[in-house]
Symmetry: C2
């Protein structure tokens, strides 16, 4: 499926970016510079550019406030806090994974060094808490608690991701849990944080959380597929970067645990240590396809999208908000995002 | 001056450690293992040992609750949160500074790898917020906000510390600000967090914060002196590790900016790149002494201790609590800690 960037995404970004910029300005000079580069606002020399991400989590957070009849403007610091946690995790993940590229640009740690990138990530995480606690309402405190819990799940997911690189026997269920932690938890938090802040009824918060968790996992599956079959123009990363790094993403683990001849050949090829040639990587991608890993991931992403849609249908919210939630879910699970 | 570990420190540690252990147990398995090692509870293989730090910040936090007539038990999660932030910062600092030893043991990143140590630090920082927000009281929220602000100052201090290594022209005022951020801010927060949590009158919180800031800077000066003239038996680190790493600590910057012949010779020796021989390091230490950096730092630490004592004298609190605060300040500014 293909999809265009929904207009609510741009509107939310315009609403929240001033709050984000004001917050980042309060950081120490080094962390502020690294963060501004990482967020796509400046080039390595500090000159303004426009290379930001789509701020999808910001849009989801603002929508969740609107779903609860809350004030989008009041939700801006919470939406900014979610984006800061996302930025923190990408800054640190790129160091740990040794990823040199992020959104078609050199990763921050390659520009400023590992120490500066570690520190900037730390600063963004602390800043997120400060932003959420600023108003001190009961909803704000609850939102801060949920964001911290989501952050810990995100960290747990990254820990499993690293561990799986060294383990040949990862089960599909373990891999699914890792992806749910790494991607689903923060997306679920983004989809519900505005409602939490507005002290919405618990059933709405629960439905939005479930929507975000399923849409988030569908998003991760799509991302995993792009990590194998996506072009650098689309992903902003080198081709087959996940395979190159020895990642155990869902399509790969689905292939490895498929019980097929192709799956067994894939397993034998992955245990060979050392760097892989372009031909090796293409052969691995072919085996994943032949073992059914690609078809499984595509079908599973569609299934999760349907589940997410079902959660939305259960929740009471304005029709236009529901439509925009769905448009974003469709966008992030399309192969074109 | 010499001093023994005050008994309130051990008592506070016994009170807070169960809360800390229960919190760390909730982390993902990898972060929990790294954190348990870093906190001195287990060896690299996960076998129980007793190699923990003195948990001075925990003791200060508990005292600050008692100063406000608050419940020490209720303050335990806040005290644990301060200790977690301290642990987070040491985990990450050791990676950035390339320090191989911490408290007479291999630093966590040398045992578990940089990625695991980055992740564990991240997890501890998120966990600290969760602990503080658990009860959701007004005092708890205020305490969480102040701990986040202190964390950002701590990060700003570390950023300056790294930057100063590359700069030959650091002023004494910049160096003092760096030390106040890096060490003073969290200690000031520790000394006041129990009072903040108990919603104590603002003058008490302010006095305790000022006490902690001055005692913290005195502590840093003492630590800087030990980083040059301390023995590995006392510091748990290699001799002259600060000089070896090219750090610009207060005694060093005091010598560099002294306008003396020895200070100028020191400056010329520090700009020579590459590793330094044992003889070079001894000569640098001698020049710092000759330029008056050592005497200045000793006098400044005593002056700050007096200022800290003055702040305590202004604040209303039980006499035994005041005496214990002072005993800890004396302990951490003694050359024997």
């Amino acid at each position: 499926m293909t999809a265009a960037l929904p207009p609510s995404v741009t509107a939310a970004r315009d609403l929240v970016e001033p709050v984000l910029r004001e917050a980042v300005d309060r950081l120490d000079p080094l962390s502020a510079r690294v963060a501004a580069y990482h967020l796509g606002w400046v080039d390595p020399a500090g000159r303004p550019v426009d290379a930001g991400g789509k701020a999808l989590r910001v849009a989801l957070a603002v929508l969740s406030a609107r779903a609860a009849g809350g004030d989008a403007q009041r939700c801006a610091p919470a939406a900014a806090a979610v984006e800061l946690v996302h930025a923190f995790s990408l800054l640190h993940d790129d160091i740990m994974d040794g990823d040199h590229m992020r959104r078609h640009r050199p990763a921050a740690w390659t520009v400023f060094g590992g120490s500066a990138a570690i520190l900037a990530g730390d600063a963004l995480l602390a800043l997120a808490t400060e932003l959420l606690l600023r108003d001190g309402t009961r909803g704000g405190v609850r939102a801060a608690r949920r964001l911290s819990a989501a952050t810990r799940r995100l960290i747990a997911g990254q820990a499993s991701d690293l561990e799986f690189e060294k383990r040949p026997d990862v089960s599909l269920e373990e891999c699914r849990q890792m992806s749910a932690d790494k991607t689903g938890a923060l997306l679920a938090c983004a989809c519900s944080i505005g409602a939490t802040l507005a002290e919405a009824p618990e059933p709405l918060v629960t439905a939005l959380t479930a929507f975000g968790a399923d849409a988030g996992l569908a998003f991760q599956l799509t991302d995993d597929l792009l990590g194998i079959w996506g072009t650098p123009e689309k992903t902003g990363k080198p081709q087959m970067s996940d395979l190159r790094a020895g990642k155990k993403t869902l399509p790969i683990v689905a292939a490895l645990t498929s019980g097929t001849e192709a799956g067994e050949r894939l397993a034998r090829s992955l245990v060979v240590p050392g760097p892989r040639s372009q031909a090796d990587l293409h052969e691995a991608a072919r085996l994943i396809d032949e073992a059914g890993g690609r078809a499984w991931a595509e079908k599973e992403a569609e299934h999760l999208f349907d589940l997410a849609e079902g959660h939305l249908a259960e929740a009471r919210m304005p029709a236009d908000v529901r439509a925009e939630f769905l448009a974003i879910a469709r966008f992030i699970t399309s192969r074109d995002h």
